[in-house]
Symmetry: C2
Subunit: 306 residues, 2 copies
């Protein structure tokens, strides 16, 4: 099962140095999810060859423009492309009227159902679930209500060792119980067959946490503990710690400390201030605390391996 993150926009509020406002595509088992949607997201999705008409869920972290000004364009183009499947949008309260008022101004009646899900910005909760994944929120610390999103693969069932099925002549109707981890009784001998003898462990579920925008906020650590990839606000270098605090953003060192405390496998830093043209200084600082840090580079896809 594929699991990857493609950065669409990596900059903070002012577009600069060829970098754009926040947006990411998460691809899991060929399903495509969109996180945040800064201005121009639809154009860059096209540019990067993302089949974004397949997106059915969009998760918006907060209502600063660099995270949602591109949403109305996505919504409109879906209409013009004659979408007919529903589109679900998850965000802190206040987004629905903004989008609908713009459609009303243009006298546009959408050809598909647009469903808004208002999230509680004060409490972490499970907001989405399908056969592959769950998505939970984590409350961040920003100037306005802001949520992070944690994507987790569901625990898959145990893998049956085919040869053992034959060896013990186990009937097919037992397969669901075996996959679920149960031992079974051998009907011929009356002997118990241990599940561990006829199955192997399922693959470890992978996870991705998107935590942007936020000040340094160790409260999030228990929620993102051990994720395979953490994307964390890293608007500033260490020497701008005061400016980071004033604007409710994080520095390189702060992002790396959170990664360290949460014991994540890898850290991706992003939401760069337009004051930085060359990002290597930011990368070096983050790596000085957390070596497995990488930069969010627009158009680049990071696979989350098992």
């Amino acid at each position: 099962m594929s699991f990857s993150v493609t950065v669409i926009g990596s900059n903070s509020a002012i577009p600069a140095h060829g970098r754009h406002p926040s947006a990411q595509v998460v691809t899991i088992n060929d399903k495509v999810y969109l996180i945040d949607c800064g201005e121009g997201t639809q154009m860059r999705l096209n540019e990067f060859g993302v089949k974004w008409m397949r997106v059915n869920q969009i998760f918006i972290s907060h209502l600063h423009g660099d995270h949602f000004f591109g949403l109305i364009g996505v919504v409109s183009t879906c209409h013009l492309m004659r979408r007919n499947r529903p589109l679900d949008i998850y965000s802190p309260p206040g987004l629905e009227s903004i989008i609908r008022d713009q459609l009303i101004a243009g006298q546009t009646e959408l050809m598909y159902e647009l469903r808004f899900h208002e999230l509680n910005p004060e409490q972490s909760e499970r907001i989405y679930e399908n056969e592959d994944i769950t998505v939970d929120t984590v409350v961040l610390n920003h100037r306005i209500p802001c949520l992070g999103f944690i994507f987790r693969e569901k625990q898959r069932q145990r893998k049956i060792i085919r040869e053992k099925l034959a060896e013990y002549q186990i009937p097919v109707e037992f397969i669901p119980d075996i996959k679920a981890g149960k031992d079974i009784l051998d009907e011929g001998t009356g002997k118990r067959i241990l599940n561990s003898e006829i199955t192997t462990d399922p693959p470890r579920p992978r996870s991705y946490a998107y935590c942007c925008d936020t000040a340094y906020f160790p409260n999030i650590v228990p929620y993102i503990q051990g994720v395979d990839l953490l994307y964390h606000d890293c608007t500033f270098a260490e020497d701008s710690e005061q400016r980071a605090a004033d604007t409710f953003h994080s520095t390189t060192i702060q992002a790396a400390r959170i990664a360290q405390q949460a014991g994540v496998a890898r850290l991706m830093i992003g939401h760069f201030s337009s004051k930085y043209d060359d990002l290597q200084v930011l990368l070096r600082e983050a790596q000085s605390v957390f070596p497995l840090s990488i930069l969010a580079i627009e158009g680049r896809t990071t696979a989350i391996e098992r």
Copy 2:
């Protein structure tokens, strides 16, 4: 005095083939005006090296998204760049609450004054004037209220022939009257000096008309009569005349007929449907009726010569 039009976005609603939604920059005497502001306009203004922080007036033709979804980004970035001069926005009614509601959602209090001017979508009127130019609206025929904009240089004063001033020993206090076209009395001889003898004609005022989006609508002809450059809706080729009528857009031939009837010097066609990758067929059709037709090409500046 410079007078030019730079195309920022030339496509209709769906961005395609590297073309973008509507936006244009009009530069007159080093002042920069913005017409329409589709999504991503601020990024493309940067890309094309337009010093758009100098824009003080933005004219929005109508409230279909491909003409205004980029405005909130422009407004926000002006704030983040610490603009302090007022910004005036002219549009049919309904835009102000759309913009302000998005700022409120992000708890953004602008650092500069944003002034909205609601235009009458049912009647042509003068909406703007400064020392260089006037801007008038023209009522178009679109699915929702939609206005065209006509930029005209003001008639400049007559040019004094310096040698004649000396020859007749005319005192400087007469200069304003002479520039205004008045004859004067020679105080020595009591003889009338004809204005035409001591001045030459001022340069002919130039003009530009932006007429997009609109169905074929000859009512506009008297308003745009004789302009130096007409930008006209040309969403479709001739074979899509019915589709053009259904969507209140124009074909190549219709745009060219309007140019012909209005006796304009040049026609620029734009607002191309995303169904056209190669635009040459559109250009050829327009030129078959009106030879001085050109394509709107993004990033290209067309100078309006005297």
